[in-house]
Symmetry: D2
Subunit: 381 residues, 4 copies
């Protein structure tokens, strides 16, 4: 069943009981049970200029330094009580060293080892952790080529939620999610469902091509998402604010610092997730989203939302254009030896190609015969 | 170990690994496993004037009517996809007929039956549900005297999150929590821990008296709380907004309608939960909280916060006084025959008595020798 | 003295004591004193489909109908106490019939007559006003071709500031300003200075070309502005909200109504004026700005801000691109017989041409040798 | 005509063409013309502990230090371009040394000298100003005993409106107004009308007693207000924020610093002015209001709003109680020799006495027979 066969909601998207995603070339499902993932917990980023990155994440964005040395900075958001949500490590090539998830119990690490071993993946385990503040950890090269980490033991630090004397106008309060670029979205979704993730939203066309999917463990719209494109690459890491004006304040501050070119896209309202968003690029080009106010998804029968790829409000509810770089650029990811994973090209249709330009189209109202007025920038790219 | 033996955080409260609550007279722990509760889902309120209640909840607060008839109105918040979050039923005595929780699977209803049967509680099960929109349900008179309901099967309705054309300035987006008044807080906490709840915060004194405790299933600060007082009674039901200005807008609208006397307490910032809050009283005196921006609590080792009862910022972070009615007034709860449960007096110290007036005291800074200036209203009650 | 000879402020623009604008071909200064203008008061818009316009301004934007009949609708903002801020009149050609200003006294109308008569302009006076709710009025075809109106006598209506029960999430509280497109900006500025306006900000290049200027009577950044382009045409009329989230709520609502294509540009933060903004297009293409939080300008020595036309943060402080339609499209204006004024082409350089595309350039940091990264959309148009 | 003879608006207050205030014992009107006042510009405060005051105004409230030395600190708000809005001067007795207004031209100082000389007031003029950054200035002991200052010449400093890197969550952007306590409000109003002020709102009872009045030069609700009480004393000085959340952020920060006892009243919504407000007390007890979003009052026929003193929403639109200290406490003011002015007792009825307690009453709905429920704190004081 494709999006065309269904009845849209009064908001224009489609709702189904379960993600109607079929993978032609699935990763096989292990017999070993998946570890019980609590939430995305931190990302380890390799950056080429540690001082420049510190300025961006600490001085501009206001993340709190838990600990730092000449090579590495450990940062957390204001409501976090574990050691860090972001590790900046100096290295020769800007890339992602780990997408790290916290699991419910120490025993879940054994499950992680078995799960990935059965899949034939490279697996490393370190009792003392790969980074400071974290105990026993498992790192793997997952079947899609992403460096995934799992841990339970972690150093507790003070949750600064009440420390309003430390809050800035653009206060980041939580790590919200990761976003991964991968050529075959259905394959990724099927695999992450095996790992225990649940799909909350996706973007499809009437031929059943899946352009992106959002998947969660904690009851928000996502802990990670699969975005169709050349991969494995990291699309972005997202931090949450409490209110929308906090996000606007980050834009205002970047303007004041004459760093407005760090703003890639937004601010705006997503169609997918209904969250208010902003995309920044850090000094290495790593993309950071600032995000607030998606919805509760914790019920097992939470309705899955499917968006038509030609719906011009799916990526921005206000119809504002998505800049090309947002579709095409992303960060390399590292294997367990610290070398960049080779990037494989997407073969399915590209979301950018099918929605803008000579060969694409987007609509504001599905059955609108009339053309959208010329002043909508999305039509001019 | 009492609050006096511990080291406070830089925000003035105390953090422990697990709720340090001891019950002298506990409800026994059943051998039957507890049902897997997802979240607080709806409250059934008996109201004496259905038209007046409809005006309050629909015209003033903007809840959405899913369905209604001459006796009953089914209401939901804007981001809800289940049939309702609040049932208003016409009846002779204003009271609460059910605190209703959604469970993960249909099988959890069998567990609920066994759990409460083993405890010797009255248990009723109806395959068609006790109210419209809900399927197979179990209602019990719990060991503390509260009418608890559990269900899984429920009618899905459209989630109106994206329908901004329907949003009002004070848009209520989620049911957030219940709050129950009970004479013996440690007893209540121990019992609800048996039911699978986890304590996130509490209020104690240096003698170990527990004045209130907050407990969660979904990863927010609470799905319900136990407030010390004459009980069983219902203290309040809480709905969430996205932003603080939404809560201020409700106050502004009540002023415009010359109904400002519906505002009982607030708006303000809680110490406990760190949320922004407002307390209203509906036409029957049922208390409704409007609430936003507490923090994520989903990790199993989420730090438990303990507040000193004499800390004047525990209930209002800005030190604004708690009005006496907020401590003393609450709604009756019904047994399974629809008769009000008798109210048992609290014998432990009263939070109001120990914090204000001739026999109480509160501090802004714990070690402040100086008296708080006279203009703080809390000192004058 | 050009922008290049001056020292910029720490925010990147330039400040002078008085607008350094020289007009080569000025309108002569009348010997008759100018009327004492209080503020921009209302715009009379001719619309081709009155029902469609009503839906836009009343149902979507929430303006209050003071009075209406089959041909005309009189609308006001929530804090207004005069009869209207906007008149929608049904007519064959979408255009502006009047930019109307309120003057301090009835006698100022005599001054207006003398002022414009001396300039050889067409002048009409009607004791009963040209529209309902307004008394004795003077309308002129001003030296730049714009239909200007002046009045003092006006019907008072209830100021709805306190009627929060009537407020919507995107509540419009005041008419803020007009914006006029004219080929020769210095000529316009000189003339409006004769009429008593004071320049607050402008955009220039190092050759002294003036691209736009902002002028005020009330102590905000402007009551009207002159934007360089083919004219006389009306660029936009602007309404104010109290907060930024009110503007975002308008975008969200347009998305929910599947009318996101009414959003032309923004939301964003202006460099000029420092206000938060959004540009919409009404059913006839008339441009409406929603605007909030500029600054007080009422002192006679209020510093005049000059922006370099190549500063990419001048129009949007976040560096987001200005869509071409915003530069090129505008509404016709009518003469006193109701016929559209002929449009004269601008001969000075076009702001769009000098800032984007092959022949233009914009900088984020003036002395940045490096090119702005490709992902900034402004560089791709 | 008293409030009882008039027809209220739909919001419950009364509107008249002009302030219906009669003074029994007026200051006589000078034949000399009044100086043309632009706006309230700065207050000079004497503080007893300069370091403590600096911490409060700079570290907590975030005002910008323009200049400072061992005895004096010159502070400004973020959108100000004149040297300062607040002077903190170390002295033996906490008091106000000057309510300072900026006038339109240097010649207005001559007018000020003549105006007050004719009234028999003490007048001092200093060409170099009484404080740094200000030129030629006139200080007087006005007929009501207040130290008023007038100046035009002033040092310009950078307006930091665009410097969002310097903004805090509670950013203060403008000085908004003063508030003066005086025994005879009608006498004060009449005198300040002679000085060119216009009344925008007042509070009266049905006997014609005037409890307070608000008066403006710039087109906001006030530049100063007369509050009935023992005087001359200074009730408060007010700074403006852009949004309501900025004010809440100040409360949150005071909580985090364990200084919540600096919050005297609020936050809340005023009835009078319709602004959102908060009252703080500085280390010397000087009262500071934080204020946002009143309305435009610049038209000469701006409707004057009269509130019934028994309307419980006049001071707080949400009906929250006014703490007694807010009515009774205020700062001394100095004569031109630096000695405190003697305080004269009010003989008219006290607003506090007529509205709360055994001899007073307040209503939410004027014609409500029913008593307000007991939980409204205002009824319990």
């Amino acid at each position: 069943m494709t999006v065309n066969d269904r009845t849209p909601t009064s908001s224009g998207f489609y709702v189904t009981e379960e993600a109607p995603i079929h993978a032609d070339n699935p990763v096989r499902t292990p017999s070993s049970p998946a570890p019980d993932i609590l939430r995305c917990a931190y990302m380890e980023l390799v950056v080429t200029d540690l001082a420049a990155s510190r300025e961006f994440y600490v001085d501009v964005l206001g993340l709190t330094v838990t600990e730092e040395d000449a090579e590495t900075i450990y940062l957390r958001s204001l409501e976090e009580f574990i050691h860090h949500n972001l590790v900046l490590r100096k290295g020769p090539v800007a890339a992602v060293a780990a997408f790290s998830y916290r699991v419910r119990t120490p025993e879940d690490l054994d499950k992680a080892v078995d799960f990935y071993t059965e899949l034939g993946c490279r697996v490393q385990r370190r009792e003392d952790g790969f980074v400071k503040g974290i105990g026993d950890s498992v790192r793997v090269e997952d079947p899609l080529g992403f460096p995934y980490e799992f841990f339970h033991a972690v150093e507790h630090v003070e949750r600064l939620a009440w420390r309003y004397d430390l809050h800035t106008p653009g206060a980041l309060v939580r790590l919200d999610h990761f976003n991964q670029v991968t050529p075959d979205v259905p394959k990724a979704v099927r695999h992450y469902q095996d790992l225990g993730f649940r799909v909350t939203e996706d973007i499809q066309d009437s031929d059943g091509v899946v352009y992106a999917a959002w998947m969660r463990r904690k009851p928000t719209v996502h802990d990670t998402a699969a975005t169709g494109g050349d991969g494995p690459r990291m699309h972005h890491v997202a931090f949450a604010t409490h209110e929308k004006h906090n996000i606007l304040a980050i834009c205002d501050k970047l303007g004041a610092l004459r760093r407005s070119d760090a703003i890639e896209r937004g601010p705006g309202r997503h169609g997918v997730s209904n969250a208010f968003y902003l995309y920044l690029r850090d000094p290495d080009g790593h993309r950071v989203e600032i995000y607030t106010q998606d919805y509760y998804t914790g019920d097992p029968d939470n309705p899955v939302v499917t968006w038509d790829v030609h719906d011009n409000q799916r990526r921005d509810w206000w119809g504002n254009p998505v800049v090309p770089s947002w579709y095409t650029e992303a960060s390399l990811v590292l294997d367990l030896d610290g070398n960049p994973q080779p990037v494989v090209a997407r073969t399915d249709a590209s979301e950018m190609a099918v929605t803008i330009g000579a060969d694409g189209f987007s609509y504001t109202r599905k059955d609108d015969a009339e053309e959208t007025p010329e002043y909508k920038l999305g039509h001019q790219l």
